[in-house]
Amino acid sequence: MTRADLMDPALIASLGHVELTARWIVDGFMSGLHRSPRKGGAAEFAEHRAYYPGDEPRYVDWKVMARADRLVVKRFEEETNLRGTVVLDVSRSMRWRGSAKLDKREYAERLAAAVSLLFIRQRDAVGLVRFDDRIRSAVPPRAREGHWRRLVAALSEDSGGGATAGPAALARAAHAVGRRGMIVLISDLLLEPEELARAAAGLRAAGHQLVVLHVMDPAERELVDGPEAIYADPESELRVAVKPAEIRAAYSRTVERAIGEWRTTLAGSGASYATVMTDAPFGIPLRAAFAARERGR
């Protein structure tokens, strides 16, 4: 059976709403792991939850299996050892779509849902901050499975559409996480690198780990051909008249250089960075986030 995390994101998105598709994605992702990522040692029992492929058999509660004829695994309080917050950019630029079938925000919302679910499956507490030029909504981190539905509901809000104010959102997320935790920023990063670098350095100083998933439409990376036109930034007064055919190659070089600068700048601030194309399967950014989580434990 085809794994949903490796399928065309537009196709996955067309199959159902965010909650459903995020589950498929995470299920597919986890079934692809070689072994359960959990390393939870002995600790105080917290709750049972349904068994999912990838869970280690040693955590299966065989007594419940014998009584109720269903597979459940035991969860322990100590395993909820990471507090994370997904910080989602819902600015106007995220509503843009070029050559891909999903716009950046549609893609990012599904990715945020999947990341949250992945964390919760790993018994981490996850919260959500949505922002544009201000904080649009904030959900504090929790580890219970039911909390995820709250996150999905928050993702479904239609608010947003202003300019991008990333550093403020990151500060709010750090405040919500409280103690040392992990912050996943999902944004098209159409903001000033220096401000973000400063915010990232602040997070690092506070002991937080920052993962930046840079969402890009393929048409933002490779300029598509077309007649001469004025290209206008929807969030600012920036305008430039160009003939795509003439500037295409130079533009590609500039974008690659900018991506390199993001990577260098954020690495210097102790943050992880990955570009996410909106036509790429969700498994790719999910893996990046998961790898960062593993490093942060």
């Binding site: 159409l190 598509v224 004025i230 430039v240 190659a249």
Partner: protein, 612 residues
Amino acid sequence: MSFLAPFALLLAAAAAVPLFLHLRRTRVTRRVEFPAARYLVRATREHERSLRARSSLLALLRVAIVLALAFAAARPLAPLGGGHGAAAVAVVLDDGPSGAAVREGRTVFDAHREAARSLLDRLGSDDRAWLVLASGPTIGGDVVRLRSALDTITVSLRPSDPSAALRRGARLASGASPLAPAVLVATDAQRSSWHTGEPVPREVAVAAFVPEGSPVPNAAVVAAEPVPLAWPGRGTVRTTVRAPRAGDSVAAIVRIDDRVVARATLGVGEGATGTVEIPVPSAPAGWSAGRVELPRDELAVDDSRWFAVFTGAAPGVEARAGDFAGSAVEALIGSGTLTAGSGTAIAYADLLELPVARRPALVTAPADPTRIGGANRGLARAGIPWRFGAERRGAARARGEGIGDADVLLRYALTPEMGARADTLATVGAEPWIVAGEGYVLVGSPLDTSATTFPITPAFVPWLARVVIGRVAVGAPRLLATRPGERVAAPVGVDAVAFADRVVAVRDSISVPDRPGVYFLTQGGRRVGALVANVDPEESDLSRLDDAALAERLGSHARIVHVPGQAADAALRGASRRPLGNALAALALLLVAAEAVAGGNAFTRRAAAPTT
């Protein structure tokens, strides 16, 4: 470099369009929302120099594309490489009589032949060639065959037309595509031979070889005819001679049947020509061949001229066809050409009902239109197989030998009866106006000024004498003046022609031999006329066109040389100039590809336009 279609160079002006588009300040109104505009701004700033250079390169490429296409359309020819490419060459040889002129021990035609040979020697198996003679024939085949044919070709005394031969050769050469077409004309540039005609296509390289030096001085007999046409025992020969200069005098002798019968010295006046009537005291009865001869000079073919004469009693004529015909007959009687008598009639057709019928007659339409019915009855009674038909009014020019500039105002359509066989002597439009048969000449109009201007033209009296003696009178001669090699219609009543060595039966036409001379026409073995073939008198005028005038007749792109060895190079220059049109079109394609690459259009998938 030259161009086959130079007007296409005007297309080069279109090169201004990309230049203008490059230089003008663009006013773009289309707006596209693009979140990553900051990267576009940065790319523009970072690559400003290279973008500007690329934009200039693109403009340059586009200008070059337009120029390459314009030049390709102009079909340029340029000298490339050594030797010559495969060529289709027509060698036009002017073999007219003037080529027989001797200068410094060799004929002018020998120089023509040398130039032609120098070209044939340069041709190889990839080339095609033809020998096109101004006198008519065309010889094709491989180069070896043409070289040996060239050795056998001599000057022809037939009428020659080098202008027509040039166009024939050009058609042959240009029809052998893709070989480079070329024509070499070897000619003495005789002024009277060359005329302006249909232009030779520019893609045909035309070269002409004209022997160096001025024409040789030439004396010639340009006309010789018996006066009167039939001699009553004796007569004169009206002789016109051309001499090299005005004021010269020329000694001439007259031979009849190879016997010298008269001598004269002719003075030459203005125009270097002089005419005199040389008396001939006696001539044998019947038909004789005569010749006027001058001392031999550098061009021998025109030093003698043939004539034929019939010696016997002048025919008696009675004229009843109006005042003009009556006055003309009186004048001819006074000159001894005719006598007053009743043997031959000149009469209105309606008078044929009267006792003039059944005599040889020159018959005209009646002066009174109401007499047309009687005129047709008269034609029937006289056994003339023609009838007057519908009346035709309105001025029209008559055409016919010896008619001059006669206009016809009123005529009747001449309608043949079943089995009518006649010669048409003159026409008006497409209809016969004067016809001649056995013992009659029929004119479709009355001979007065209300119907035609013919009786008041200078040509009328000589014409009347010629037709009365040559066509109507009993036993009168039939004289046909022609040129060697021509084909002429056989006169009515002639059944054979006697050449020097044989007698040939005649049906509808006679092929005149290539040699000048007198050939007798016979009927039932009896001489009834003569065919007199002489070289065209215009051939005696050896004056030449200068190079500019000759080039005008050959085509403005023609090259003229005067040394035989240069003829081949001049003719084959077209083959060494290879067409660049295809190469330029290929270059334009390459430039288009380069433009596509430089412009970033090549192999670029056009994606959907960004939406917001």
